[in-house]
Every structure is written in C-alpha cells, then in structure tokens.
C-alpha cells in the first residue's frame, strides 16, 4: 500500500490540465456571461426567447451532440475554425484550447442563469437613485449594480468551474483524449477504467476530483458569505 496515494506524473499532468482548462473556460466566458445575462434580464427585443433558448441549449443537448457541433464549426475545416486558423492562427481542434472552449460552452448556461437571476433581483430604483445623483448608466452599473450582483457572479463562476472540471462528453468528442494535451481528469479516469489494472489510478483521480470540487464549493460559500456580509450588515 506504500505510496498508493501518490499520483504518477501522467496523472499529475491530467490534474494540472483540468484545472487550467476549467480556469480558462471560466475566466474567458465571464465577461460574455455578464453581458448576455444583463441583456436577457433587462432588455426586450424580438427573438429574445430564441437567444434565451440558444444559451440554455448546451444544458439540454446530449454533450456528445454539443461536441460534434463544435467540431463542425470550430474544427480545422469548420466555418469559424478555418477562419480563426487562417486569420489569427488560433487552432482549437485537438488542443487544450479546444477543451477549454468545450468546457466554456457547457458551463455557459449555468453561469448566465446564476448571474441573470441576481440581476433580476436588483432593485432598479437604486439605479434611478444613482442617476439622480449624477451617475450615468455606466457608472451606475459599476458602483451600484455590479456590487449588488457580485454574489451571483461568484456563484456563476463556481458553477461554471465545477461544470468544466467534470465536462467529458463534449470535450472528448471535440478534441479527443490526448494525454498531456486534451486529457482532462474525467477523460483520464475513463481511460483508466478501460485498461486492466487501472482501478487504482481511477480511484486516485476520483479522490482528487472530489477534493477539487469540494474546495471550489467551500470557496464559493466563503466568498458569498463575505460579499453578503459586506452588503447587508454593519
């Protein structure tokens, strides 16, 4: 049993990659997520329910379908993928960036939902008050709306991160399962379960996965409580 819990270098690689993919997915989708949540919460426009549905779609579709759609659009020959590769040299297919894109797409609905709910809960009369004090709509957002929705943003970020850490179907369909490049934690666990004698490795990574998820949850609790205390009491 000695050293049973020690991760092999390959396993460490998968852990590091997973954390990096999830972090990048969370951070890059954040500004877009806030913007989309704001528009959905505050604006009325024709086709709103279509946009709403589009944002939620990855939540409902089988992840494999989402992954395949990503492959079609962001793959080397896909419409957007070929454009990005030719113009900017950005390649998604079979790279860790592709894994991050897949995770971001899968986590996006959760993030938008959490932020949108918090925006809808903001008392708009406070923004009016900021306006009468001389704040234009931009400053009113920065000084009033944003601090008030901060707990919702934190919640949305953590949900997106957790979803990204566990993303499997879309990732493996879009960017495959290449050790060191696109093999995230769930893919690594899956691989272990497919080979004889892989149980120990699968169990080790499962424990790692549980610890990271628990830690993320606790951090989000702490942050939400910290922000909440700042807002609602002395």
């Amino acid at each position: 049993m000695d050293g049973w819990l020690n991760l092999s270098p390959e396993e460490w690689t998968a852990v590091r990659l997973s954390v990096r993919v999830a972090t990048v997915a969370m951070l890059t989708s954040l500004p877009i997520g806030i913007a989309v949540a704001y528009v959905l919460a505050r604006c009325k426009f024709p086709g709103k329910s279509f946009v709403d549905g589009l944002v939620l779609l990855p939540l409902i579709l089988p992840p494999v379908v989402t992954g395949y759609l990503l492959l079609l659009t962001f793959g080397r020959r896909g419409m957007i993928g070929s454009f990005l590769a030719d113009q900017f040299g950005i390649v998604f297919s079979f790279r860790w960036t592709g894994a991050a894109l897949a995770c971001a797409v899968m986590g996006f609905p959760l993030m938008v939902r959490a932020i949108r709910l918090s925006i809808e809960a903001v008392d708009r009369r406070l923004e009016e008050a900021a306006g009468t004090l001389g704040a234009n709509p931009f400053w009113a957002f920065v000084f009033v709306t944003f601090p008030l929705i901060a707990p919702g943003i934190v919640a949305g970020m953590i949900l997106c991160f957790a979803k990204a850490m566990g993303e499997f179907g879309a990732t493996i369909t879009f960017v495959s399962n290449i050790p060191g490049e696109t093999q995230t934690l769930p893919s690594a666990i899956y691989t272990f379960t497919q080979v004889p004698g892989g149980e120990a490795g699968a169990l080790r990574l499962t424990l790692v996965s549980i610890s990271i998820s628990m830690a993320a949850l606790m951090v989000s609790e702490l942050m939400a409580r910290w922000v909440g205390r700042k807002i609602w009491t002395e």
Partner: protein, 387 residues
Amino acid sequence: MTIEVDVAHRLGVFALEVRFTSQGRLIAFFGRSGAGKTSLVNVIGGLIRPDRGRVAVDGTTLVDTASGIFVPAHRRRVGYVFQEGRLFPHLTVRQNLMFGRWFRPPQERKVQLETVLDLLGIGHLLQRRPGALSGGEKQRVAIGRALLASPRLLLMDEPLAALDDERKTEILPFIERLRDEANIPIIYVSHSLAEVSRLANSIVVLRNGRVVAVGDPAEVLSRTELVPHDAVEEAGAVIEARISQHDMEFGLSTLQSKAGPLRAPYLDLPVGTVVRVRIRARDVMIANAPPVGLSALNVLPGIVVKLRKSGETAVEVTIDCNGVKLEARLTRKSVETLGLATELPVYAVLKSVALDKSTLGRSPLSAGLHGADLGVRLPDERADRSR
C-alpha cells in the same frame, strides 16, 4: 425659484395633465395618494419622459418635447429624496453621502460634508451601513446624500410618509432648516396637511392628475373644499405670528399675529422669530359675548363672514379677525343656539394646548430675520443627537 410646468403624460389608465407656474423656496405638491404627485415629480427629476410638454426651472429647460429637449436625470442636477430612502445597501453612510459629490466637477461642489452632518445631525452614523439605521436616520442620510450632490433643486417625495409620528417630528425641524438655510429650492410632495401647512411657501394642489389650485398656504389651505377628505379633521387657518415674549414661569410663549395675541406652549426660539401657526377648525370655539370664567387663554374678536354646511352635523364658520380669516368647525345645533349669521360680531376661542408641535413651526418668513441662526432645537432632537 420659479418652476414652469406644462406636461401631459399617460400611465395606463391614469392621465397626468398639469399646467402651472409657481414660485417660492419650498413649493409643496399637495393631494391625496393617486393624485399624480409622484408622477409629476418624476417628470421634473427626469425619471419619466412625458408624452408631451415642457418643464423649466429658473429659465433652464429640462424637458421640451416640441423642440426635442430631454435632459437625462444624471445631467439635471436635480436632487431627489425618495419616499423609501433608496440608500445603497452595499455602501456605508459616508460612501452613500459622498456618492453624488463624486460625480460633480470640483468647482461645482458647493455643499460641504461637515455642513450637512451638522445640519442633519448624522455625524455619528458615518461608519454604519443602511441596514443598521432607523427609519428616521435613513431618511436624514437620504436627504444629506441628495444635498451633497450640490443640486440646483431638491425634490422630496413624501420623505416622512414611511415614518411614525415621533420620527416625523424628529425630521420636520431639519427640513425647516434646510428650507431656511441651505439656499436650495425644494419641491416637497405630501398628502399631509400638517407638513404642507408648516413647510410650504407655495402650494400646488393636485387631484386626479390635474392642478386644482396654486397659491400661498394661508389662502389655499383655508379653502376646505381643496383639502383631501381624509385630512379635513386637520384643516384650518394658517397664519403667521411673531414671538413677542416668553413666560418662563408658566412655560408659555406669546405670539403677536394680525388677528391678535396668541399664547402657545413654550417655544425654544428667540423673541422676534416669525412662526407659522395652523389653527385647526375643530379646535376653535365661538362665543357671542366676551367669555368669562373660561380656561382657554386665547380669545380673538372677529366677525362671521361665511357659514357653510359640511355634512349633516357640522358647519364650517369663517370668522374675520382683523383681516385674518379663521375657520371654526361647529355643530349645526350650536350654530342655531347661538344664532350665528354673517356680519355678526363674535369671539373665537382657542386653547393654548391646541397649538402643539404638529401645528407650530418656524415660518419660511423667519429666514430673512434669522438666516444665520441654527438654534432650532426641539427637546427630542437634542436627545437624538447625543445618542
């Protein structure tokens, strides 16, 4: 300040159609709830874009739909004290107060924090958050926040409506000081006769989205038909009087008014201060001969000028006391017993204790005489400050 309003706006089934010009340091919009007072204030503050019309303050046009002018709220420099305070819950009192100031260019920051803290007595609250304030404190902070944005006009929409009577008497003196000392014109919205008669230089009465009267308080408020039905109990004459003497032994102050001397419970104001007295019609008794053996200290001779039936039981009697019109509300039975008729000389009798804190306040006219005086201290206000 002069304000010109001529707007029409539709909100669902409610139509606001208002046209008036008014002048004064404190203009009150008076009327029952649903009369359109808040909508009108929102038009002036820039929170509602009217369907049609024009609003100008001291010659500056804020809205003119004909020429496509609509100054957005954040460029109007119109302070707004909301009924519910609307303090920012995530900021401390200090941050709330400084919020509007931050958006003003330095040369336009006319109002200083220290002045406001002193004026409103909120210096001890700076580090707290709105969640930890009482209703009265919140409303004072809201007033301070609006003031520190250095507005050219201050809108106050029922700032006392959400407070109990004790808090109201706590805040009213602050609003009086604001009116007399801050040099910022105020539009004050209220459905309370007590507040309006005590504070206003000029009154605009609204009913069902329309203006039914504009004028000075003494004139407008003595017309009981203009007073909302639920406030009729509080209706009466509004007169100005000057404090001529304090009687410390009995705790009384003597006021000289055009109608004659009035004795009121002691007022902690210097001799010479002009105060405004609301004499409720229901507090006035009438005698047809000089009364003897009577506890009431105030007896004013006058002549009956008008009798008007009000419901089955009551009669509104208007008495002219040396040019000042007093209102008395009597039963029909008493009117008949006394044989009251117009042109009849009578005596209006008023108990001193009927002149209490809710009916007496420093007059807007007193500012000129005691502009620098910050000495309005009601006892409970002092207690609040030392807390």
